[in-house]
């Protein structure tokens, strides 16, 4: 950047020569602080300093990703350094055996923690990949009906885009009908509509265990009962990516045929996930190659990531009930405090049916896209909902599926807490949010 100012000035001088009628004397003039001089934006100068709050950061976006647990970091380090534990698990020598042992130990540990068999655990490169493998892999196995009728997928309209867009892509490729089931006002998939959609020609059902935006726990038991009774030929998949940090996974695993997890949502590293494929449920591969993971997911294993994921899940399960109690109290204090201090704040979804870490509020008259920018400047990391590929914030399809209008669907802010969340962070959010909201409403 050195010299840009000189350039600016020399440009200005050139401009002066070229345009004598409108001489520009000396380029850009810098005139102290803006507050007194710039028109418009009443109070903009002073209030723009709302971001300066002494460097305090409150990280309330654990549903997006969590900091890694120390146990997970410790577990993976040996596989990232040195000349002994770097092997490819698919080989036949000692280095390979060592790596394969690590992967299989991790597989067994994860299977135990989920209530699955060793052979049911398929490692993937992410939770999104696990969802894709579940849906695309299950559909590929399905043969077209003899009567030529298309296959039918049923999913909840509040699914993560990893599920929704995979289903929609299948529809675009032809032969598939997709039924998206709306959400009720408490944030739960509408079971009456679901029962109606769940007819005998349904091949695949996908209902998430916990919604990523509003944190509501979905009634997978009832979903499973309806599927088994009304669509016995259907495969039931659940995206359980937001569940593992908070819920006992064994009943969820027991209720479904396919289940997706992502390590970085519970203190593991990014870039590693799991698809549980219950025995007897056939899926075709989506990624072809060396035939790893019993031909279901080719590609050399992310050994360090897999090991760390197992360590993270183990630590999560050990501490789960304590963490849930502590974080529930923090979350309740946060939500109750915000509802009390901010007029027009509404909580999204039935709190009694949410995971402990989720606080979701809608602030009437506010655009969450702007609010998260100001919150960030004020030291609060929160989320405005689903970000699309460009980074822009779309109106939340989850809130829209609950029947909220598009203004309301743009007014939601998610504060998601995790095991590392503290009272100090909650205090900071409670101190900052009323001012941010007032400023945006001004």
């Amino acid at each position: 950047m050195v010299g840009t100012g000189q350039l600016l000035q020399s440009m200005a001088r050139r401009g002066e020569r070229a345009n004598m009628k409108f001489p520009i004397s000396s380029g850009v003039r810098k005139v102290g602080r803006p507050d007194a001089q710039v028109q418009g934006h009443p109070g903009a100068g002073a209030s723009s300093r709302i971001g300066q709050t002494g460097g305090m950061r409150a990280y309330l976006d654990h549903a997006a990703t969590t900091p890694m647990r120390p146990e997970a970091v410790e577990a993976m380090l040996p596989y990232l350094s040195g000349t002994e534990m770097f092997g490819n698990p698919s080989g036949s020598h000692r280095e390979s055996r060592r790596a394969r042992l690590a992967v299989d130990d991790a597989r067994e540990e994860i299977a135990d923690l989920l209530g699955a068999d060793l052979g049911e655990v398929v490692f993937t490169g992410s939770g999104t990949e696990a969802d894709n493998l579940a849906i695309t892999g299950a559909l590929r196995v399905q043969r077209p009906s003899l009567d030529g009728r298309s296959g039918v997928i049923v999913c909840s309209a509040m699914e993560h885009h990893a599920v929704l867009n995979t289903c929609r892509a299948a529809v675009e490729q032809g032969g598939i009908e997709l039924r998206e089931v709306q959400t009720d006002r408490s944030g739960i998939v509408d079971l009456a509509s679901f029962a109606e959609a769940c007819t005998s020609e349904v091949r695949l059902v996908s209902v998430m265990a916990v919604n990523n935006e509003i944190g509501t726990v979905q009634p997978l038991d009832e979903v499973s009962r309806l599927v088994r009774a009304q669509a016995p030929g259907a495969v039931l998949h659940t995206d359980a990516i937001q569940a593992a940090a908070w819920l006992d996974m064994t009943p969820i695993t027991a209720a479904v045929d396919l289940l997706a997890l992502s390590a970085h949502k519970f203190g593991g590293p990014k870039g590693v996930g799991v698809l549980v494929v219950r025995n007897g449920i056939p899926i075709d591969a989506v990624i072809y190659g060396g035939g790893q993971e019993r031909e279901r997911r080719s590609g050399t294993h992310n050994v360090a990531g897999i090991v760390a994921m197992a360590a993270a899940l183990s630590a999560t399960v050990d501490e789960r009930s304590d963490a849930a109690a502590r974080v529930t109290a923090l979350r309740d204090r946060l939500v109750d405090g915000l509802m009390a201090s901010v007029e027009g704040a509404e909580e999204t979804g039935d709190r009694s049916r949410k995971v402990p870490g989720n606080a979701h509020l809608r602030f009437a008259g506010i655009e969450s896209e702007a609010m998260v920018v100001l919150l960030d400047e004020a030291g609060v990391a929160a989320s405005a909902g689903a970000a699309c590929s460009s980074g822009a914030v779309d109106a939340s399809h989850v809130l829209l599926s609950m029947g909220l209008d598009s203004a309301a669907a743009r007014s939601g802010v998610r504060f998601s807490l995790g095991t590392t969340s503290t009272d100090t962070e909650v205090d900071h959010v409670l101190a900052v949010v009323p001012g941010v909201v007032a400023r945006l409403r001004n």
């Binding site: 950047m1 010299g3 840009t4 100012g5 350039l7 600016l8 440009m11 200005a12 050139r14 401009g15 070229a18 345009n19 009628k21 409108f22 001489p23 520009i24 004397s25 000396s26 380029g27 850009v28 003039r29 810098k30 005139v31 602080r33 803006p34 001089q37 710039v38 028109q39 418009g40 934006h41 903009a44 100068g45 209030s47 723009s48 300093r49 709302i50 971001g51 655009e367 896209e369 702007a370 920018v373 100001l374 699309c388 590929s389 460009s390 980074g391 822009a392 914030v393 779309d394 109106a395 598009s406 400023r439 945006l440 001004n442």
Partner: protein, 376 residues
Amino acid sequence: MFWPLSREWSPACETRAVRVLVAMSGGVDSSVAAALLVEEFGHDQVVGATLKLWGGSSDSGCCSVADVEDARRVADQLGVVHHVFNFTAEFEERVVAPYVDGHAIGRTPNPCIECNRYLKFDRLFDRAGSLGFDAIATGHHARRMTTEEGRYRLIRGADPLKDQSYVLAMLGQDQLARSLFPVGRLTKAQVREEAIRLGLRTAMKPDSQDVCFIRSDEGREGFLGDRLPLHDGRLVDDATGEDLGPVEAVELVTVGQRRGMGHGDDGRRRYVTAVDVPARRVRIGTPEAANASGVDLHTVTWVDDDLTQSAGPGECAAIAQCSAHGRPVACTVRLDGNGRLAVTFATAQRRIAPGQTVALYDPANPDAVIGSGIAA
């Protein structure tokens, strides 16, 4: 004369604002605009924002993911925070839908101007204000100056080939007070030189062309054809009323258009003189018939609000520019009682298609925009 002669241009190009939100399209102009602002105000005081405007497919347009990445990487290089703002709903409502609806009734709106009017200098303005910014900046080739009285003037960009004052002609004092155009005093070549010198990845990116939401492979016809029923119609001789044969897609025909209209018996080319979409009739005529002595403008805006009061009921001299790079022509303008502006050209001009914007410049200072309006 619109502005009193006593009102002199200030010698200083004021740029007082300190905390600036710079709209970064991912192109070279806004990249260099951001760089110049960072140099002037420091990277803590500058934030970049890319507007996601169009959710559909585009060539690379203003809003594709690749352009967002370019903008973000330039922001990273400059050490400034970068945001993406999703204004697709407003863009659809304020720009795309009116563009389609306009063609459905035989009008030809300028989407870039409406985008500036409603998105960059209204929606983004409000967003910048609520986020505590003192000003927004864009990479437009235009200049803002102030008079000694502290009034703002919008001046053509220093590069006559790249001047974009036309698409900003609807700005008023409120907006100019909080708008910066850092590259307006540079030529395009200088902008690229600066981008190269700074090693910005956008340095050699080609200029964006045409309308950002229309792909070049489908064109205007494909875009509108997907959104409107296009109707075949009849060509009618403007002078005699004689039916001259069929014409495809009357919704896509523009007043003043020459392409596809053939030649008359006199061997000269024919031009569209009027389009009547409901009647599915396109009138064509000689070059003379395609000319008009003037045009009536609605949606009239003034760079300086004082002007409408001082203008009074009389006739004033001005210079009209009727397209982005059209030739400026002398004219007189007269305000009628209903806020419409009657423009009379000094010499007859090709008819201005309804919906097109006419930018007005000051005869005493032909680089200075005084206002704008939309052809009725």
